[in-house]
């Protein structure tokens, strides 16, 4: 479970988001929407631990019993998926996945897990492929699996569908939500398009948390 408590985000002295309280259950996808400038990327940066120095924040971030907001990005155990797939161009498809896999599996077992993961998402035999030779949909799938193989305790999605065309978009959305449900990950989806949200799930407009003064 991911929980945000009493979060205030300010830029200089201007409040951006005020008293954000949010609880995301395991396997739940909560969608945050808002116009550009509403603070979507700032909130994401705070969640991942990459808040630019111009901003300041108060409040707590909990992952289960663990408080995370003071931890550096690499110690949080939160995975992130950006608009771009961000596959590492100097590694093969399989090596990209192996990069994410925890060190607990070693030797031949590592490669086996990666092969298995690839086969599980319809990319059997893609281990040695150069990521640049993959289609957009294939790259998107590898990118998600890379985030998941690191065994995160929560997942952030930063407009991950916006660069895909309509058909691919529907397919990949379904794929992402299926994987999230399978791994029971609390997930925050940030998007400008409310249609990206899974059916029946919570959608929250960021303007609910904007300061009353701006919003009267």
């Amino acid at each position: 479970m991911l929980r945000i408590e009493h979060l205030n985000l300010t830029l200089g002295t201007t409040p951006l988001l005020v008293n954000v309280n949010l609880c995301v259950a395991a396997g739940e996808v909560v969608t945050l929407t808002g116009a550009s400038g509403a603070g979507k990327s700032t909130l994401l940066n705070w969640l991942i631990g990459n808040l630019p120095t111009a901003f300041s924040a108060s409040g707590a971030l909990w992952l289960g019993p663990r408080r995370c907001d003071a931890l550096p990005t690499e110690a949080r155990g939160i995975g992130i998926l950006f608009q771009d797939d961000l596959l590492f161009a100097h590694l093969s498809v399989g090596q990209n996945l192996a990069f994410a896999l925890p060190a607990s599996s070693t030797g031949a077992a590592r490669r086996a897990v990666v092969e298995q993961t690839l086969a599980g998402v319809g990319l059997a035999g893609f281990h040695e492929r150069d990521p640049a030779t993959l289609s957009g949909g294939q790259r998107a799938r590898v990118s998600l699996m890379r985030a998941l193989l690191a065994q995160p305790q929560a997942l952030l999605l930063d407009e991950p569908f916006s660069k895909l065309d309509a058909t691919l978009r529907a397919q990949f959305r379904g794929f992402v939500f299926e994987q999230i449900a399978r791994q029971r990950l609390p997930t925050l989806l940030v998007t400008h398009d409310a249609a990206d949200a899974p059916p029946g799930a919570r959608v929250i407009d960021l303007s609910t948390w904007q300061s009353g003064a701006n919003h009267a």
């Binding site: 991942i48 550096p72 990005t73 690499e74 110690a75 961000l86 990069f99 060190a103 070693t106």
Partner: protein, 537 residues
């Protein structure tokens, strides 16, 4: 063929302009270096008693200097990017880069020589009354030269790194890899450098080529008997004896071979490293905060150099071991020979303006794929090129002429102008030109009235870079100008051979001030012009 001939006149003008700078080099290389293609010449080079020690000095300074520069730049980038320290460093880089090589070497001489400022600072604690008998500069292994090259070139490398780090994808990859649990140091090693290094190939080659063939810095900080190979080659090339000239040409070619060998070596090591990269093990290391003060390491020498030059230029008497001059005076400035400054000023202004015009024509109308060739002079050692220029000018009977001198500087000014302008120029939104054309402007009117005014800031910035490059030229000024034109650079280098440190400091400081003035002009003019136009960047 008919297709290519049917290109517009402006295309041929653009090509002609650039060809005027480059084409005479080819016959020049033949005329200048053909006497050196002779086994007897190489044999006498081989037997020259100075060569072995000179080669050692060249190899230590030429390999150690660039290697240290890489370590400094890589260490600073890995520790500081992204963060406020990186931004602060990036803001200071243009100023540091504007300090010419010769002025930096002279300042470093004032700092690290046995009677220099550092020895005085140490001497305060040890009660020294005479300078220590240490060999800290002009040492036989050219370690002082290597240090100077390492510090100076690290700024250039950082500037190149900053250019590729400016992209959004790099910052996101860093966040992405950190969210997978890796520390910064690991991410730089395993993710960022492997992807960034192939794109840093040409700056690395440029640093290697420069370090192997540098003459001005080597004359100031390098060993003397014998000097480095580059200095040796240059002395021979200037000798009236044709046999020695040929030997100098051979030594210059030898530098080219060393350069090719160095590039092949680095490339081989890189490929080996690629091959040796194993399957990712997934081992996460804890983050360790950087302990080394990278920012200070990189900027402090630059500021210290300028400060010590400034202090010497106004010192009246300043004997060892005093930390501070006994009295300050403006006499060195009043009595300064400002002839070299005027020569430098008109030469650099003419050359950078001419090159900017040629590059504008080239970018607007020239071929789009041929830029790589224009960068060649930035990479290969300068000595053989200068020898070729001189030979070409002799044949055209233009040696020691103003036109010949401007032309010789253009070979280095032109590529740097292109390098700094090509990014912003290609990034210009072409819809604006289309809009202007649709409103009735001709293609050139659209450039003149819309595109170039909007690009004023990058245009002036690349003009200032060209100006600074021209100010710093030593070899072509001395060689092609046949000693008839003294610039602040040639003056500073010749004064560094001994004599009055105050006079030397004035010329070296002028060498720093002229490029800084150009940069100040290039940044204040657009700001003034755009004072009522917030969107005009």
């Amino acid at each position: 063929m008919a297709q290519t001939l049917r290109r517009p006149l402006s295309f041929w003008l653009a090509v002609l302009g650039v060809a005027l700078v480059f084409a005479p080099l080819l016959p020049g290389l033949v005329w200048g270096l053909s006497p050196s293609i002779n086994s007897a010449v190489w044999h006498s080079l081989w037997l020259d008693p100075q060569v072995p020690q000179a080669l050692v000095a060249t190899l230590t300074s030429g390999l150690l200097g660039p290697a240290l520069a890489c370590l400094l730049a890589a260490g600073a980038a890995s520790a500081l990017y992204p963060g406020p320290g990186w931004l602060a460093l990036q803001r200071r880089l243009p100023t540091l880069l504007a300090v010419p090589h010769a002025a930096f070497a002279i300042g470093l001489l004032f700092l690290i020589a046995p009677s220099g400022w550092l020895a005085r600072a140490i001497g305060q604690f040890l009660s020294w009354t005479v300078p220590p008998a240490w060999v800290t500069v002009q040492d036989p292994y050219a370690l002082a030269l290597a240090l100077a090259l390492a510090l100076k070139e690290s700024w250039f490398l950082l500037w190149s790194v900053a250019a590729v780090l400016g992209e959004q994808a790099v910052a996101q990859q860093l966040v992405c890899a950190r969210s997978l649990g890796y520390s910064r140091a690991q991410i730089w090693r395993q993710v960022l450098w492997p992807q960034l290094l192939p794109r840093l190939g040409w700056p690395l080659a440029a640093v290697l080529g420069y370090a192997l063939s540098v003459v001005d810095m080597a004359l100031i900080l390098g060993p003397t008997t014998p000097p480095t190979v580059a200095v040796l080659a240059w002395q021979w090339l200037l000798d009236p004896d044709a046999r020695l000239q040929a030997q100098g040409g051979a030594a210059a070619l030898g530098l080219l071979i060393l350069f090719a060998g160095g590039v092949a070596l680095v490339r081989g090591l890189w490929l080996l490293g690629q091959r040796g990269r194993g399957y990712p093990k997934g081992q996460r290391q804890p983050e360790r905060p950087p302990r080394w003060p990278w920012q200070l390491t990189l900027t402090a020498p630059g500021y210290a150099v300028v400060a010590v030059l400034a202090l010497w230029s106004v010192a009246q008497s300043w004997f060892f071991p005093a930390l501070w001059p006994a009295a300050l005076t403006g006499a060195s400035w009043h009595g300064a020979d400002i002839g070299p400054m005027w020569t430098t000023l008109w030469l650099a202004a003419t050359c950078s303006t001419l090159c900017l015009a040629l590059i504008l024509l080239w970018l607007e109308a020239g071929p789009r794929q041929a830029n790589g060739w224009l960068y060649l002079p930035l990479m290969v050692p300068a000595l053989p090129l200068v020898a070729a220029q001189y030979a070409a000018l002799l044949h055209a009977q233009l040696d020691a002429s103003v036109a010949g001198l401007v032309w010789s500087h253009a070979l280095w000014v032109l590529p740097y102008t292109l390098l700094t302008l090509v990014g912003p120029y290609r990034a210009f939104d072409d819809r604006l030109t289309t809009t202007a054309r649709a409103l009735g402007c001709s293609a050139w009117q659209a450039c003149w009235r819309v595109k170039w005014p909007l690009l004023l800031r990058p245009l002036l910035a690349s003009w200032a870079v060209g100006f600074a490059v021209s100010v710093a030229q030593y070899l072509p000024t001395l060689f092609v100008g046949a000693g008839r034109f003294a610039t602040v650079t040639t003056e500073a280098v010749s004064l560094s051979a001994g004599g009055n440190p105050r006079v030397l400091a004035v010329q070296a400081l002028l060498q720093v001030l002229l490029p800084l003035l150009a940069f100040a002009l290039a940044s204040s003019w657009p700001r003034w012009a755009a004072r009522h136009r917030l969107g005009w960047r």
